[in-house]
């Protein structure tokens, strides 16, 4: 369970407030206009930014002051999700052990993950030798092996074409079920949200609304969402 307790985030003179709880196993889409603070919110949850006030709690435990690497979180960014100088195996392996000293079981585990995302033959390649879709799959395989209960996606597939993006989102949905984790994803496309997010929050005008079931929300959008969707 992720709790954002009276969060007030100030960045470049712009303020964002969030105060809600997300139940475990939920997939939350953060939707809203660009510049509204969607990525900023993820950065606070991940530990890259400090809120001015309020707390971030995971399973009731305060994680506001933990460094990013010690939070129960894996995250994918818009770009630079892979180290270009490391092989596919190394990139994924870092998700298991940051010193890359993997034992036999861990190596087998890594191999399974690679197979799971359909890249079994690509273990020795470097990201530069892979297509955009394949690179995304490598990053997802790492999310899989990380087994962190909270997954943050900051539009990692925005550079992919619609079909490929949908493949990825479907894969994410499947993986999240396997991990049994909680997910937050930034999106500005309603279809993305409708596809894999069971709940959605609207980020606009300095606040993050509490998560509402996605289907219900889009059927009967509140004003902030109507403004964003232009309907």
């Amino acid at each position: 369970m992720l709790t954002l307790e009276k969060l007030e985030i100030v960045l470049d003179g712009f303020t964002l407030n969030a105060d809600f709880t997300l139940e475990q196993g939920r997939n939350l889409a953060l939707i809203g206009p660009s510049g509204a603070g969607k990525s900023t919110l993820l950065n606070v949850i991940a530990g890259f930014l400090r809120p001015r006030s309020g707390r971030v709690l995971w399973q009731g435990e305060d994680i506001t002051d933990l460094p990013p690497g010690q939070r129960p979180i894996s995250m994918l960014f818009q770009d630079n999700n892979l180290f270009p100088h490391l092989t596919v195996t190394q990139n994924i392996g870092l998700g298991i052990r940051p010193d890359l000293r993997l034992n036999a079981a861990e190596r087998a585990y890594l191999h399974d993950a690679l197979e799971r995302v359909g890249l079994a033959g690509m273990a020795g390649r470097k990201p530069g030798q892979l297509s955009g879709g394949q690179q995304s799959r490598v990053a997802l395989a790492r999310v899989l092996v990380q087994r962190k209960p909270l997954v943050l996606l900051d539009e990692p597939f925005s550079a992919l074409g619609p079909a490929l993006k949908h493949d990825m989102l479907r894969l994410v949905g499947d993986l999240m079920q396997e991990i049994g984790g909680t997910m937050l994803m930034v999106s500005h496309e309603p279809e993305d949200a409708q596809m894999i997010a069971d709940v959605t929050s609207v980020v606009a005008q300095g606040t993050v609304t509490a998560p509402k079931p996605t289907a219900a929300l889009f059927e009967n959008p509140p004003k902030v969402l109507r403004d964003y969707l232009g309907t």
């Binding site: 690497g69 995250m75 960014f77 180290f83 270009p84 100088h85 998700g95 990201p127």
Partner: protein, 510 residues
């Protein structure tokens, strides 16, 4: 990010190494002695010549770097490598090479006289500046070229789609870049020229061209006034430190590291006029920098057979010292560069190594060491350490921007993966800094090879370095053999540079 602790420790070590000896000299002298009017004249001359030298170096580097940034031609990368040669050449070799071109009976005057024109006179302030530009134009060019290539290609495409002329591109894209880059380039060169001595005196044409370092020399060996020597050394260090802090304020951390192979396609620079200008700039630069080198090579070949065996023994000594210095320079630079990611001003400490007076530094070290050990036994260590300190600013200038870029692009990913400490170094920072490390190791090695770097008080007569042996050959009338040794030095300095640079390029990744 990585903890700054080891970096602060390394910076403290550098400070201790630079200021410790200075303090010891003060203590021994029983306090400082105020410099006389002649000393102040030397301070003024040092500032004047260093300012002019740095100014001309960076201004002339602008057209050269621009031409290299927007033109692709066969041999371009070879030219870039060769242009670096004056920078790593031992001073005496370079001065004799310069005189062979610009001297009274040099190539230039021979041509002028043949053409019925009056000869030119190289000696004077303009000669000092000319020589310093010869040494530092390549460095300035590299710094600028690197910055030029950091302007994203998309901006030039945008400029082309807006149909901007070369002049408009200069004003909108290139001038803003130059404004942040030139101060950094200026200060490094200013610092190098500030402590110039041999070049300034030889080409300055007489005692008018007395620099602070020569005034220190006089205070030390003529008047044996340690207090005055130490005060002058402090003045020299402070001057460079102040200018460095000011320049750092106005510049961002541009380096001059790797990746100079890329040429951005430029639509604004296709006119015949600009092509001719760029070609002329490159030919003139190549002539200016390479002709003296060529004469060094020709003289060296003539003297090659006359080189005695001792030269090759000295070559081995120099190679070992050079490799040790390189290792020390990198070992100091890496933690300092990591700490500089948090606190940029730390880099200024690295700069102090090239402005500290070798004479005062050596004297202080000697006073520290002498009561406990035979200085000659430490000759090796001291020479290696001093050479490493001299190379430190350049290594830092290359390394810091590279590390900064890695942190900018991949820092968050590393954070979220929990890559800290050694793992972050090993899997992120070091592999991505490979080119920068190779390039800066090459610089440090070549530097150390070519530096006379003899702190006489620590000289070990039985283990002469190649530059010292070359100097000894000259001192024993054997100028031709010395020229051969100069060529040997040039070949190995460039060879070491090329080898390390190549190692850094190793296997190419994205």
């Amino acid at each position: 990010m990585i903890r700054g602790g080891p970096g602060y420790a390394a910076a403290a070590l550098v400070l201790l190494f630079i200021f410790g000896p200075l303090i010891v000299v003060f203590v021994r002298a029983g306090g400082g002695t105020l410099p006389g009017p002649a000393d102040w004249a030397a301070v003024r001359f040092s500032i004047t010549q260093a300012t002019l030298s740095a100014l001309f170096s960076v201004i002339l580097a602008v057209p050269v770097a621009r031409a290299l940034a927007r033109r692709q031609f066969p041999g371009r990368s070879l030219l870039i490598t060769l242009l670096g040669a004056p920078f790593i050449l031992p001073v005496i070799v370079a001065v004799l090479g310069l005189l062979a071109v610009f001297g009274r009976s040099g190539v230039l005057n021979s041509v002028l006289i043949w053409a019925g024109l009056p000869p030119v006179q190289i000696y004077g302030l303009h000669g000092v500046v000319l020589a310093h530009v010869f040494f530092n134009l390549p460095l300035a060019t590299r710094i600028l070229l690197q910055a030029w290539q950091q302007i994203p290609a998309e901006r030039f495409r945008l400029a082309a789609s807006l149909n901007m002329t070369a002049g408009q591109v200069m004003r909108r894209l290139e001038l803003p870049m130059l404004r942040t880059t030139l101060p950094g380039a200026f200060i490094v060169i200013f610092a190098i020229c500030l402590s110039s001595f041999t070049v300034a005196l030889t080409l300055g044409g007489g005692p008018k061209a007395t620099t602070v370092e020569l005034a220190i020399y006089q205070a030390f060996r003529f008047d044996f006034d340690l207090g005055r020597a130490a005060v002058l050394a402090v003045i020299q260090t402070l001057l460079a430190g102040i200018v460095a802090l000011v320049a750092l304020k106005y510049s961002r951390g541009e380096g001059f590291g790797a990746g100079l192979d890329r040429v951005v396609r430029r639509w604004d620079a296709q006119s015949a006029g600009l092509r001719i200008t760029d070609t002329a700039v490159m030919i003139l630069t190549a002539l200016f920098l390479l002709l003296p080198l060529l004469l060094v090579v020709i003289n060296g070949i003539a003297g090659w057979a006359k080189m005695p065996d001792q030269v090759f023994t000295a070559l081995r000594v120099s190679l070992v010292i050079s490799l040790v210095s390189t290792a020390v320079a990198l070992a100091l630079a890496l933690p300092i560069a990591l700490a500089a990611l948090r606190r940029g001003w730390i880099e200024v400490i690295g700069l102090l190594g090239i402005v500290s007076s070798p004479l005062v530094l050596g004297t202080g070290l000697f006073l520290i060491v002498y009561p406990f050990a035979d200085p000659a036994r430490l000759a090796f260590a001291v020479t290696g350490l001093v050479n490493a300190l001299t190379a430190l600013p350049f290594v830092l200038r290359v390394l810091i921007p590279s590390l900064r870029a890695s942190e900018k692009n991949f820092g968050r990913l590393a954070d979220v993966l929990g890559l800290t400490g050694w793992a972050r170094l090993r899997f992120l920072l070091l592999p991505r800094a490979r080119r920068a490390l190779g390039f800066s190791a090459g610089l440090a090695a070549a530097f150390s090879m070519g530096d006379l770097g003899v702190i006489t008080l620590f000289a070990d007569p039985s283990r002469a370095t190649l530059p010292l042996q070359m100097y000894r050959l000259m001192g024993a009338f054997r100028m031709e053999a010395a020229a051969g040794a100069g060529l040997l030095l040039l070949v190995f300095s460039l060879g070491l540079f090329w080898m390390f640079d190549k190692l850094g390029r190793g296997d190419v990744d994205a």
